[in-house]
């Protein structure tokens, strides 16, 4: 049976580094299978996060050959097995151990975004009417599985470490989903500029490329939000219009 080498990040803090393991390969295998095999047979205490192994929960995020990906959705036949396959934790977040990063910052950020606030119900029974087309636009963003791979790749967080100023692509599309929700009446535009740092994003689109849910983060989410911010703050005509309407 064929074998492949996996170069896995082990340890914690300064006592961490790559270690090589070999695993038996089989048809259809994904990187998470290899990690499990190594964990069961060679390194019982190997730390890794995963839940569904079906690309649905967004737990198994890692950097495979340097690229942010879900381990459970990365097939070995997409990789060059002639070289060792490197597997590392997401680097934009503090490291805990082995392949596990501390993603708690994301949970804190989400709480700062103003929550959903619906308009009064449309019907006497307390329900609303919406057309599918309006739902569709937002449903794209709501496919997000919170894997944070987009956060991991975004240079504003990864290189510039602006975690205090910038909420990152995941939460920009979260805000977009709320802003474009057919029922929502809250206004988050000022927050987006002042507290969420939308201005930090310079539309490199790296986030869109890594999203395992193929959400068009930049074009459909961030750019329209930026336009709203611009309209609100820099366009005197529309501002006048707002005052008088």
């Amino acid at each position: 049976m064929a074998q492949a080498t996996f170069r896995i990040w082990r340890g914690e803090g300064d006592r961490a580094g790559f270690q090589d393991y070999t695993a038996e390969t089989f048809e259809g295998m994904v990187v998470l299978d290899a990690i499990h095999q190594i964990q069961a047979e060679q390194a019982n205490d190997l730390a890794v996060r995963w839940n569904c192994k079906a690309g649905k929960c967004g737990s198994c995020s890692a950097e495979i050959n340097g690229r942010p990906r879900l381990m459970c959705m990365t097939r070995l036949n997409q990789l060059d097995l002639g070289e060792p396959v490197t597997v590392e934790p997401m680097r934009a977040f503090p490291h805990i151990r082995d392949l596990v990063a501390d993603v708690s910052w994301n949970f804190r950020v989400k709480k700062q975004i103003r929550k959903f606030k619906p308009r009064p119900a449309d019907a006497a029974d307390g329900t609303w009417r919406m057309v599918q087309k309006d739902a569709d636009r937002v449903q794209e963003f709501r496919k997000c599985i919170e894997c944070y791979l987009c956060q991991d790749v975004c240079h504003v967080l990864r290189e510039h470490r602006l975690h205090e100023e910038f909420i990152g692509p995941r939460f920009l599309i979260y805000a977009a989903a709320l802003e474009m929700h057919p029922l929502d009446v809250e206004n988050r535009v000022q927050d987006l500029r002042d507290r969420h740092g939308i201005g930090c994003c310079n539309i490199t689109k790296c986030c869109t490329y890594v999203c395992p849910e193929s959400i068009t983060i930049t074009d459909n989410g961030i750019i329209p939000l930026k336009e709203r911010v611009v309209d609100r703050f820099f366009d005197p005509l529309s501002r006048l219009f707002r005052i008088f309407s």
Binding site: N44, D45, G55, K56, S59, V100, K110, R129, H181
Partner: protein, 603 residues
């Protein structure tokens, strides 16, 4: 002295899936202090995987639907072993719980007049499942999560509960360890809600995630609560079978709801060959009628592919066993054929079943708009669990509540698709509400310090033992044993053999050792989960042996028919004073007359 931190809440909820989140939200609304504990990160619980939809008689698509029809469908599906009070409350309250999600931001697919769209699903007479494409669970958990973080709920992520603590007979809290650092934490509480989900990891081929080790079942059992219906494990008929890496991953019933058909290797729609008597009147007589049903023709009856899951799973097994299966030991599920009927079929499939399209394309190199899938049964859902009061969700242990998949009663011998997500909402809410009011009137409870000390000592034992074997091997063998000997078709001598093996695994589990230290050590976590799995495996096997008949999800080879003598009780499992597993028969309470009448009318 063992070291641990102490946290104090009125109510703690263990589990942050749909049931746990809904319970925590409701308890917080009762203005008590609430702690929510979850083994994984928030938003990753199993509920996120649910695909097809949430069942509620909203009657948006077919105005003939109402709670009475939903009630009767649920009871028929459960072969009348259900807790009828739960089936009643569930059918009545599910519509409000779904509408409430919309008020919290959920965006369901719409009907042409702008209301929540509902789809057909097996065993439901009318289109009843509110859905969002094939990612309904994600929508539901995210809505609850995003609403929940703005309520006053303290969330403890990546904390695993290993013991429930009692004060005399009643609940006093729980002991957990933090996965990240391996520290122990004592949660003192007056009421505890268990919402830990299912047990699928007891089997080798499963659609369930690693968390499904039956912790809640085992915690409650150890605390003296009664478990019921443990013989009823649902095997979903359609899991992926190829490649080996993805074996077991679910293929939603929605594929069949949208017109997908099952064929054997000769291209025959074998489901037409075996339609059970009690479903004959509701099943399509021809392929043509079945197709019309999936396209919303209200006069058509459902195709036999949408019969209950236990039945479809056994038919697939039969085809495979008799040599008519697909190349990798399944059968074919074909949705691509609908291009003969629909213009733009490929687009339609991608829009209705996006995750299925994605899943097969990415993991199996198959384009489901062009070629059939290969599918076979996979372990999916646990009907059995903690016995609760239908109104309050309280177990036999005062102050201990249960909701969601770890609870039992609503589904009886077999669950209908979509009835779980609605179960989580209806009974999650009820559990949260009643746990809060219980906590308000209860005196403070005191956990026993010696017991805590002992529990910590036991949990750390795997580090102390120098045994040669790690936990993974024992777990893998247990999964294989359950798959081979206590699976879809059960035989007496095989189950007796399984019990003997389980005893051996228990012995080995007590000796297995782990390396490294306590910080995020998956080996250690597995060693601790193993004890829950073993309890659950034994309970399933003993209950299955007790029920010498075939009913719902349980199929006994020696007793292939339903037997009236077994129709009047649930099988119960309790820990005896000596620590061994005790099996009992619990007669069903008589059905209320008005409900009996509904069932008669809808027969």
């Amino acid at each position: 002295m063992a070291q641990y931190e102490t946290h104090e809440h009125d109510v703690i909820v263990i589990g942050a899936g749909g049931a746990g989140l809904r319970a925590a939200i409701e308890a917080a609304a009762g203005s008590v202090s609430v702690g929510l504990i979850t083994k994984s990160l928030l938003g990753k619980a199993h509920t996120v995987m649910a695909e097809g939809g949430v069942a509620a008689a909203l009657a948006n698509v077919d105005e003939r639907d109402n709670w009475r029809v939903h009630f009767a469908d649920t009871m028929r599906g459960g072969q009348y072993l259900n807790n009828w009070r739960m089936a009643e409350l569930h059918a009545k309250e599910a519509p409000d719980r779904v509408k409430e999600l919309e008020a919290w931001g959920a965006l369901f697919d719409r009907t042409s007049d702008g209301r929540i769209l509902q789809r057909q699903f097996g065993g439901h007479r009318y289109p009843r499942l509110a859905h969002v494409g094939d990612r309904t669970g994600l929508e539901m958990i995210r809505t609850l999560q995003d609403h929940g973080i703005h309520q006053s709920i303290e969330v403890y992520m990546e904390h695993t509960v290993i013991r429930l603590l009692k004060d005399g007979g009643r609940i006093a809290g729980a002991l957990a360890y933090e996965r990240e650092r391996g520290r122990f934490k004592l949660f003192r509480a007056r009421a505890v809600v268990l919402a830990t989900g299912g047990i699928g990891r007891a089997y080798k081929i499963t659609s369930n995630s690693w968390e499904y080790t039956g912790d809640g079942h085992a915690l409650a059992y150890d605390a003296g609560a009664l478990l019921i219906d443990m013989e009823f494990v649902q095997f979903h008929p359609t899991g992926m079978v190829w490649p080996p890496s993805v074996r077991g991953i679910l293929v939603t019933e929605g594929v069949r709801g949208e017109g997908g058909v099952l064929r054997n290797k000769h291209g025959k729609r074998f489901m037409f060959d075996d339609i059970p008597e009690n479903y004959r009147a509701q099943t399509a007589a021809s392929e043509e009628e079945g197709w019309r049903y999936t396209q919303g023709d209200r006069d058509a009856r459902r195709p036999p592919e949408l019969l209950t899951r236990d039945h479809v799973a056994r038919c697939i097994m039969r085809e495979v066993r008799e040599g008519r299966g697909s190349p990798h030991g399944g059968v074919f599920l074909d949705i691509a054929w609908i291009r003969e009927r629909l213009p733009n079929a490929a687009e339609h499939i991608k829009r209705k079943l996006p995750s299925m399209y994605h899943q097969f394309k990415q993991l199996g190199d198959i384009d489901i708009t062009k070629e059939p899938m290969e599918v076979g049964p996979t372990t999916h859902y646990m009907m059995g669990g903690i016995r609760v009061d239908g109104d309050t969700q309280m177990s036999d242990v005062p102050g201990l509540f249960a909701a969601g998949e770890c609870g039992a009663g609503l589904h009886g011998a077999n669950r209908l698709g979509g009835n779980s997500l609605s179960d989580l909402l209806v009974f999650g809410k009820r559990a949260g509400e009643h746990a809060a009011s219980y906590a308000k009137q209860a005196r403070p409870a005191q956990a026993d310090a010696g017991e805590i000390e002992q529990a910590i000592h036991d949990a750390l034992a795997p580090f102390e033992r120098g045994g040669a074997e790690g936990p993974y091997q024992v777990q893998q063998q247990l999964e294989e044993t359950m798959q081979d000997l206590v699976g879809i078709v059960r035989r007496e001598h095989e189950m007796v053999e399984a019990l003997a093996r389980i005893e051996d695994y228990k012995r080995r589990a007590r000796q297995c050792s782990v390396c490294g230290h306590r910080e995020y050590n998956n080996g250690w976590h597995t060693a601790l989960d193993l004890s829950s799995l073993l309890t659950v495996a034994e309970a399933i096997t003993r209950s299955a042996l007790e029920r010498k008949e075939s009913r719902g999800a349980q199929f006994r080879d020696e007793y292939p028919a339903k037997d009236d003598r077994y129709g009047g009780f649930n099988v119960g499992v309790r820990k005896s004073a000596a620590g061994s597993m005790h099996i009992e028969r619990l007669p069903l309470p008589p059905l209320r007359d008005d409900l009996k009448q509904i069932i008669e009318e809808m027969k």
